[in-house]
C-alpha cells in the first residue's frame, strides 16, 4: 500500500463522514435541549435542494451554504411550532417532517435534474495540496474545516458557557429550569433552529462536495445515520466526531475492500457492514444506559413535551 493510496482512502472517508457529522452536531444540540427531532433526513434534503438551487442561480457555493442553513432552519420551524408551541408529539411530528422534506425537495428539484453544478473547491493554494501529505491537511472542501470548527464550538458552548449550561438544564429538567426563570420554549426553539440549519448544511454537502448534481432522495437515508450517530456518541460532541469518522470508515472500507477483491466480505456480508453502525449504536446505548442510572449522558427530558405548570 503506497502513501498515495492511503491518502486517497483518508480523503474518501473524510468526504463520507462530513455530512453526518454536520447533521449529527445539529441534532445533538437539539436533543441536549430535550427535543427529539426525527426529521433530520427531511431537513437534509431541503438543505440539499436549496444549496443546489443557490449554486445554480448564483454560482457561489459560499452563498449556497447560507441558503441551505436558512432552508433547513426554516423547515425545522414547522417542527418547532408544532411540538413546542402547540405541544404536539415529537416522534410523529419528526416523521411528518421527513415525509414533507422528501416530498418538497423532490417537487422543487424537478427541473434541476440532469444538470451539474460547480462544486466547492479547496480554499488553500494549490501548492499546499500538491504534496500528498499536504493534501491530507489542505485538500478538502471548506465544509470539512467548518465541521471541525463546529465540533469545537459546540463542545465549548455546551460545557463552558452559561447559555450552554442553560440549554443542558432545559434538557435535563425543564420544570426546574422554568422555575428559575429560563424560557424553556425559547431555548428549545433556538436548539431546533440550530439543528435544522446544521442538517441543511449537512444535506448541502452532497450537491456542493460529494455529488455535484441533484437527484431525488440524494442523501440516501443518511439523516437516520446522523440520528444513530448522536446516540452512539452518548450526546458528546467530541465522541460524535470520532463516531462520524468510525461510521464513515465502515462504509468506505467496505467499498475499498470490495474493489481490491479481498475476502473482506467473506468475514461479514456487505449488508452486515451496512447494518454495523446501527448495531453498534444499540450496543453503545445499552452500555451507557446500564452503566449510569438515568441513561448516561442522555438528556432526561428527551422527547417529552414541556407544559409549564401555573
Amino acid at each position: 500500500m503506497s502513501a498515495d493510496f492511503l491518502i486517497s482512502v483518508i480523503i474518501t472517508i473524510v468526504g463520507a463522514s462530513t455530512p453526518i457529522l454536520l447533521a449529527g452536531l445539529g441534532e445533538l444540540v437539539t436533543e441536549k435541549s430535550g427535543v427529539l427531532n426525527l426529521g433530520v433526513e427531511g431537513m437534509m434534503l431541503v438543505g440539499a435542494i436549496a444549496g443546489f438551487a443557490a449554486v445554480d442561480a448564483t454560482g457561489s457555493p459560499w452563498l449556497a451554504v447560507l441558503v441551505a442553513a436558512a432552508a433547513g432552519a426554516a423547515v425545522s420551524m414547522i417542527f418547532a411550532v408544532l411540538t413546542l408551541s402547540l405541544r404536539a408529539n415529537q416522534v410523529a411530528t419528526g416523521l411528518a417532517l421527513t415525509i414533507f422534506g422528501t416530498g418538497l425537495s423532490t417537487l422543487a428539484g424537478h427541473s434541476y435534474t440532469g444538470r451539474p453544478i460547480k462544486p466547492f473547491t479547496t480554499i488553500f493554494p494549490d501548492v499546499l495540496a500538491a504534496h500528498p501529505f499536504g493534501r491530507v491537511l489542505f485538500g478538502y472542501s471548506p465544509l470539512v474545516y467548518f465541521s471541525f470548527i463546529m465540533v469545537a464550538l459546540v463542545a465549548w458552548f455546551l460545557n463552558r458557557t452559561r447559555p450552554g449550561l442553560i440549554l443542558r438544564a432545559v434538557g435535563e429538567n425543564d420544570h426546574s429550569a422554568h422555575s428559575i426563570g429560563y424560557s424553556v420554549i425559547g431555548v428549545r426553539y433556538g436548539a431546533v433552529a440550530f439543528g435544522g440549519a446544521m442538517a441543511g448544511i449537512g444535506g448541502a454537502a452532497f450537491p456542493l462536495v460529494l455529488t455535484p448534481l441533484w437527484a431525488e432522495g440524494l442523501t440516501g437515508g443518511r439523516g437516520w445515520i446522523a440520528i444513530a450517530l448522536v446516540v452512539f456518541s452518548g450526546w458528546r460532541p467530541t465522541r460524535l466526531l470520532a463516531g462520524a469518522y468510525f461510521f464513515g470508515l465502515l462504509g468506505t472500507l467496505e467499498l475499498y475492500a470490495k474493489a481490491s477483491g479481498t475476502i473482506f466480505t467473506a468475514v461479514l456480508p456487505s449488508e452486515g457492514w451496512a447494518a454495523l453502525p446501527y448495531l453498534a449504536t444499540v450496543v453503545v446505548l445499552a452500555i451507557i444506559s446500564a452503566s449510569k442510572a438515568g441513561g448516561g449522558n442522555a438528556p432526561a427530558c428527551l422527547g417529552r413535551p414541556f407544559t409549564p405548570t401555573a
Binding site: L86, T93, L95, T102, A275, A290
Partner: protein, 368 residues
Amino acid sequence: MRLKFERRAEPSRLMLYASPVGAVLLTMLVGALVFSLIGYNGFGAVYQVFIAPLVTSYKWGDIAVKASPLILIGVGLAVGNRAAIWNIGAEGQYVVGGLAGVGIGLMTQKMTGAWILPSMLLAGIVGGAVWGAIPAALKNWFNVNETLSSLMMTYVAIHLMNHMVTGPWKDPTGFSYPQTPLVTPSQTLPILVPGTYVHLGVVITLVIALILWFLMSRSLFGFQVRVVGSAPSAARHGGFSQKATVWMVFLLSGGLAGLAGIFEVTGPFGQMSLGFPQNYGFTAIIVAFLGRLNPLGVIIAGIVLAVTYVGGDLAQSVLQLPNASKGIFQAMMLFFLLASDILIRYRVRLVSSAPAPAMAAPARSPAE
C-alpha cells in the same frame, strides 16, 4: 395581543373527533391553493387524491388492501402509545415478520396442505414479536430508551432482509434478481372478492382491530395500559407492573406488525424483494395519531391514508401531478392534525399582553 392556552378541565370530546376531520378538510383547501399557486391544477389534484378513490367503486378494493397493513400495525402502536411506550420500529418488525414467514414458505415450497398458510402466519407473528422483544428487553433490563433502540433495529432488520433476498433465499430460477420465489397456491391468502385482490388478511385485520377496541375500552388490560401511560405512579400503587406492560406492548405491536408483513408476502406481494419495506411501519405511526390512538379511529385513519396513496397514483395518471405531491399532502394532513391536537386539552384565547384576569370556570365538554 398574544395567544393564550387555557387548560380545559377535561379533554374536549368535540375537538377529539372534530380535529381529524378539520385537518383533512384544511389539507384539501390549503393543498388546492398551494398547488394552484405553483402552477398545477390544485383543485383537480385534491379531487383526485381525496375524493376520486372514494367515488370510484373499483378503487374500494385497492383502498382496503392498502389500508390493511396500516390499520393492523396502527392498532398495535396505538395501544403502545396509550401506555406512553414508543415503538417506532414497527417497520423492522414488519420486515422480520415477513422474513420469518418466508422462511417457512421456503421449507414448504414443494408441499401442499391447509396447515402451511397458518404456520406461515404464525411465524410472521412470532418473527415480529421477537424483533419487538429486543427493544423491550433493552428497556426493561438496561433502561434503554425504546424510541431510539426500536428505530435502530429497523435498519438492522432491513439490512438483514437485503442479505437474505440477495443471498441465501434468492429465487434459484429468478436469473439472480434479488427476490425470493413466488409463494405457492397453498401459501397464498384466499381472495375474498373475485376480480379484486382483497384477501383474507383484510378481514382478519378488521377483526383484530375490533377485538383491540373491546380490550382497550372494556378490559382490565386496557385499563392497565392507560393507567401506566397516564399516571405511572398511580400504576405502581395499583400494582400494575411497568415492566410487564412494556413486554406486553412490544410483543403485541411487534406481533401485529409481523402479521402485517406476512400478510403482504402471502397476499398482494407474493414474494419478498428489495422493495418489500414500504414504510408501512412509519406511516402507521401517523395512522395511530390520526386515529386518536383508538382502534376504531385507527381503522378510519388507515382508510384515509390509503385513499391518499391510491388517489396520489390517480392524480398522476389523470393530471400528471408529480408523485412527490402525495407525500406533501400526507405531511400537511399530519401537520394540521398535530397542530389542532392542542384544542382537545386547551382552549385558545386571544388576550392582550397584560395579564389576563382569572377566567370563569371552563364550560363542560359535551360528554363524560
